[in-house]
């Protein structure tokens, strides 16, 4: 308890509080604009947090993450366009509600459901995170190595449709992570005589390029020259029927549980949580045929499920250094920027920061109630009148300013552009980008841990698998990699047998 009271006293100060309020509003705005997503927004934000206090920086990440997950529901309900991939399931019942003049009611349900899911998820993070971290006290270099490999492997095989491409992406990230001077021997690797490469490729520069430029290019391809008309965004107030809100409570409880479970699993994202929650609500309903035709339970389940995934995905990220999704990977990047090593040591070395971030995830979820109400939603919906084509240069400028201020070098702008163009085409060929970033983050940890373990054991490789915990971790890692490949091979063999 002292862990949280101490952290709370740091969070409830001017800097983090202002950051949480501002970032939650910004998050709702970003989520409300189709084409912009939380990953892109946090990637753009990270370079600006270099000079900030880590708790302020993480407050902004928490606000944008929770706010944008709700913000995605606004265009999903009003226009049947999911603002973020996690709000696809919200369109199923949200848009039919808006179509029969109940947009305001649907938005209110989405707002409350998002806040409730977020709060439940933050409570799960606050209770399960420290418990998991306590286990890691028994870890040595061999265990850290396997944790890093397990994290990459699980995300690599679960993100995207082809596990081989996922593993290939992780290995590419590991290889990019070796660029620069090797900390243990002083050997310069893959620098091609360029002094700017001695420190390695800046993670944030690559991250901004990979995650922000492809959506910008897609916006340019869509070429929206008009934006929406005022008539399309008109909202009329519809009162709730007696007992209607109380009827949503079982849905909220069920969706929160599902979202938390999905969040803990590495690789599964908010969209999966929303779909599972929606299906569970439909199956539990007395009238399943009303789903897809404007049933408020559908909106509540989808929105509660996708927000319940948020903080829960930070449980493996903070306690083990294994990010559950790309945003969790970005949080790990934010920690790296501030000189903190993501992974098991974090809880023991920086309790105020970890506890503070957990509190911030909780507070920003509560803020959705206050800031994401119908009035705010009306204001944010108006931003959709802006033609999409005007967003293209404005995001590009934000990317450039963010990247330039990191090192004050023009070369970083070219690296960002190259990473962005590569990211655009790699996404088109179903090559997942999240494992590349994970490889870059966890690669140095994996390499240093394995080399330390081998130094301790005087070159004995069996040391990596003979300790009980490392043996279990190694076995689980092999299983995580091999199982999807076996499943894929079986699936391919089936039609041949027929």
């Amino acid at each position: 308890m002292e862990f949280y009271t101490n952290a709370l006293s740091h969070v409830l100060t001017f800097g983090p509080l202002t950051a949480m309020i501002g970032a939650t509003l910004l998050g709702v705005f970003i989520g409300a604009l189709p084409g912009l997503n939380p990953v892109m927004a946090i990637a753009l934000l990270l370079p600006l947090t270099y000079s900030m206090d880590p708790l302020v920086a993480l407050a902004m990440v928490a606000g944008i993450y929770n706010g944008s997950m709700y913000g995605g529901a606004i265009p999903a309900i009003l226009l049947r366009i999911p603002g973020t991939p996690a709000s696809i399931a919200t369109t199923f019942d949200g848009f039919p509600m808006a179509d029969r003049g109940e947009a305001s009611k649907a938005l209110k349900i989405a707002c409350w459901s998002s806040a409730i899911g977020g709060i439940a998820s933050a409570i799960a993070l606050m209770t399960m995170g420290p418990m998991l971290a306590r286990v890691t006290l028994f870890f040595g270099p061999a265990e850290y190595f396997w944790i890093a490999i397990f994290g990459m492997a699980s995300v690599a095989v679960m993100v995207g449709s082809d596990p081989v491409k996922g593993i290939m992406a992780a290995v590419l990230g590991l290889l990019i992570g070796t660029i620069g001077i090797d900390n243990l021997s002083g050997q310069a690797r893959f620098t091609f005589g360029q002094t700017w490469l001695l420190g390695g490729l800046d993670l944030i520069v690559v991250l901004v390029g990979l995650y922000a430029l492809p959506p910008v290019l897609q916006l340019a391809e869509k070429c929206d020259l008009r934006g929406l008309s005022a008539a399309q965004l008109k909202l009329a107030d519809v009162p709730f029927k007696k007992g209607e809100i109380r009827g949503l409570i079982p849905t909220w409880l069920r969706a929160s549980g599902i979202g938390i479970g999905v969040g803990i699993l590495p690789g599964a994202g908010g969209n999966i949580a929303a779909f599972l929650s929606y299906n569970a609500a439909k199956n539990a309903s007395d009238d399943p045929s009303s789903f897809g035709k404007g049933n408020p339970q559908g909106v509540a389940a989808a929105e509660c499920g996708n927000n319940a995934d948020n903080a829960a995905s930070m449980i493996p990220a903070l306690a083990l250094g294994i990010p559950g999704n790309v945003v969790a990977a970005l949080v790990l990047s934010a920690l790296t920027i501030h000189g903190l090593q993501p992974g098991p040591q974090l809880f023991h070395q920086n309790p105020t920061l970890v506890g503070g971030f957990m509190m911030e995830m909780l507070i920003t979820s509560v803020l959705i109630f206050a800031l994401g109400g119908a009035v705010a939603t009306r204001v944010f919906a108006q931003f959709q009148r802006l033609p999409g084509v005007l967003l293209v240069p404005t995001i590009l400028i934000l990317m450039c300013v963010g990247v330039y201020v990191i090192n004050g070098r023009a070369i970083d702008l070219w690296v960002m552009l190259a990473a962005g163009f590569a990211g655009y085409f790699l996404e088109k060929v179903n090559f997942p980008l999240a494992p590349v970033i994970l490889g870059m983050i966890l690669g140095p940890m994996a390499e240093q841990s394995v080399r330390r373990a081998l130094l301790i054991s005087r070159g004995d490789v069996t040391e990596l698998v003979t300790r009980p915990i490392s043996a279990v971790l190694a076995a689980v890692t092999v299983l995580v990699i091999v199982w999807p490949l076996v499943k894929m091979a079986r699936r391919r063999r089936k039609p041949v047998e027929h």
């Binding site: 600006l48 000079s51 082809d162 081989v164 491409k165 593993i167 290939m168 290995v171 590419l172 590991l174 290889l175 070796t178 090797d182 243990l184 021997s185 050997q187 690797r189 893959f190 430029l213 910008v216 290019l217 897609q218 340019a220 391809e221 869509k222 070429c223 020259l225 802006l386 033609p387 084509v389 005007l390 293209v392 240069p393 404005t394 590009l396 400028i397 934000l398 450039c400 300013v401 330039y404 201020v405 004050g408 023009a410 702008l413 070219w414 552009l417 163009f421 085409f425 088109k428 060929v429 090559f431 390499e447 394995v450 080399r451 081998l454």
Partner: protein, 149 residues
């Protein structure tokens, strides 16, 4: 076409993997072993992707680019912008970008674009130069004024 795209993707990674492994042979001791292993694994995975695509009985069409003309325009304008940020200065190049990019993509409401450019650049100036005091590439126009003065 998906099949052809995957074959090319696999071959590109085979190339990157072999190149990385070959480069790593010149690094001393353990500092070379790790990238060499990664290079070899990448080669193996790239070959797997290519072979898998080759053996695939059906070919599912998948467009690599949805609107080629728009994409090339956006990529070209972005590249020119990055090239001009240092010589012209951040604010000058950015202001020109906010006007040029929508126009190049077919947006013809010039007053609208100009209003967005002025409002957006003022916000950027207030946040990055006034509030955060971040050093950004110096404006050429200011340097010329200084020389002229």
């Amino acid at each position: 076409m998906e099949k052809r795209q995957d074959i090319v993707l696999g071959l590109i990674f085979v190339g990157i993997g072999i190149f990385a492994a070959w480069m790593a042979t010149s690094y001393k001791g353990a500092s070379g072993t790790y990238p060499m292993v990664l290079g070899l694994v990448l080669t193996l995975l790239g070959a797997t992707v290519s072979i898998k695509a080759l053996r695939q009985p059906t070919d599912q069409p998948r467009a690599l680019v949805n609107a080629p003309a728009k994409l090339v325009t956006a990529a070209l304008v972005s590249t020119i912008y990055v090239a001009l940020v240092i010589p012209l200065g951040f604010y000058t190049a950015s202001f020109l970008l906010v006007l040029a990019m929508p126009l190049a993509l077919g947006f013809r409401r010039l007053v609208y674009a100009l209003t967005v450019a002025v409002v957006f650049m003022s916000l950027i100036y207030l946040v990055f130069s006034v509030l955060l005091e971040k050093p950004l590439p110096r404006e050429l126009i200011l340097s010329l004024n200084a020389v002229g003065g």
